[in-house]
Symmetry: C2
Subunit: 209 residues, 2 copies
């Protein structure tokens, strides 16, 4: 397996966490989003969206982190990262989407670039924008994790939800967003991060020194 990523991409980090939790070996091809390396035509042939991550497996190209996480869990089911029952799976997938659809796309690199380009957004405005969407999503997740968690976001073992919360909190820390109001979220993510240290952005081959 080849993971196309970028050390600081929150979406690539999700996939690295799942790979780490499952103990899977993989190669990395990294694309520096800051210099636009992912817009290279050769990469666009692989991934028409020209985003990271993408997972290359025996000629098959999988895109979108949430879809890759599901595929990894189906193909490498040990340890499972989804509950055994449909209702539990729906709760976990709802947690995943809370971040993956309603928080992260609103503050990832390309969106922030567009805010600066299209609206002349200042850094203060960009920070307020990011903080707004993170705190909205984190507050909802805190309620859900308090309701369904037992050490991890859902139940007593890591799930796909934890693969998503860890990068979300990494972003929050990076941008100085206060996460003290979300103790269940913070504790469950910290427990997962400790199980997947090799996945941390700072430990990737393309990380800034």
């Amino acid at each position: 397996m080849i993971l196309h990523g970028y050390w600081r991409s929150g979406a690539a980090y999700r996939v690295r966490i799942a790979l780490a939790l499952k103990g899977l070996a993989y190669e990395q091809v990294n694309h520096d989003l800051r210099t636009g390396a992912h817009t290279d035509p050769a990469y666009a042939t692989l991934n028409p969206q020209r985003l990271v991550p993408a997972l290359e497996v025996d000629g098959l190209i999988l895109t979108q982190s949430a879809a890759i996480l599901e595929w990894l869990d189906e193909r490498f089911p040990d340890p499972p990262l989804l509950p055994v029952d449909a209702d539990g799976r729906a709760i976990v997938r709802g947690m995943v989407a809370t971040i993956a659809t309603d928080v992260h796309p609103l503050h990832n690199l390309r969106t922030l670039k567009a805010l600066r380009r299209d609206f002349g957004a200042s850094e203060d405005q960009v920070n307020a924008w990011m903080t707004h969407w993170m705190t909205e999503g984190f507050a909802a997740l805190e309620t859900l994790i308090a309701r369904h968690g037992d050490g991890f976001a859902y139940g007593a073992t890591p799930t796909l939800a934890d693969c998503i919360t860890v990068p979300a909190l990494y972003s929050a820390e990076r941008f100085g967003v206060d996460v003290a109001p979300y103790p269940h979220l913070v504790a469950s993510a910290a427990r997962t991060a400790a199980l997947a240290e090799a996945a941390h952005p700072s430990r990737q081959p393309d990380a800034d020194a």
Copy 2:
């Protein structure tokens, strides 16, 4: 089952399509997003994110359209809306996420409100913003559907991908985005829409006259 929705919510529309394709009966409770009815404290108890849709089933509350779609397909597998093989499922889920994470959250009602509020975005700027994200996502989907579709977005029967493309094209039409460059996307969505006419926004009980 009770679907908490709003006639013009693209995310609620996705769920209505899946319900229609599976021939499932359900009740509707609609929340007028324009007047902020979804921020009512009673609804926040049900759905901490205070967004639509949510699906209420025997006391269980499911949130996030992508998670609800997966749950419906697991609980009511006939007709199936995901391919039988893991690789195919990953492609379909990637298509779903292309719209659900990288297009729709950037132009839904709350995001456009925030652009106007935080950056004083004009209507021309808002329209250019929406057009930008839609055309980025549609172009990628067009490539994927040309590659994997056979009448529908993936293969020869509707999948969760089609549940997502139909509302995406409804939004494009509503906001005057040119979809002529995406013939595979348009044709597959039209075929699905014809199978799920009851799900159309204009046919919902809370629709504007």
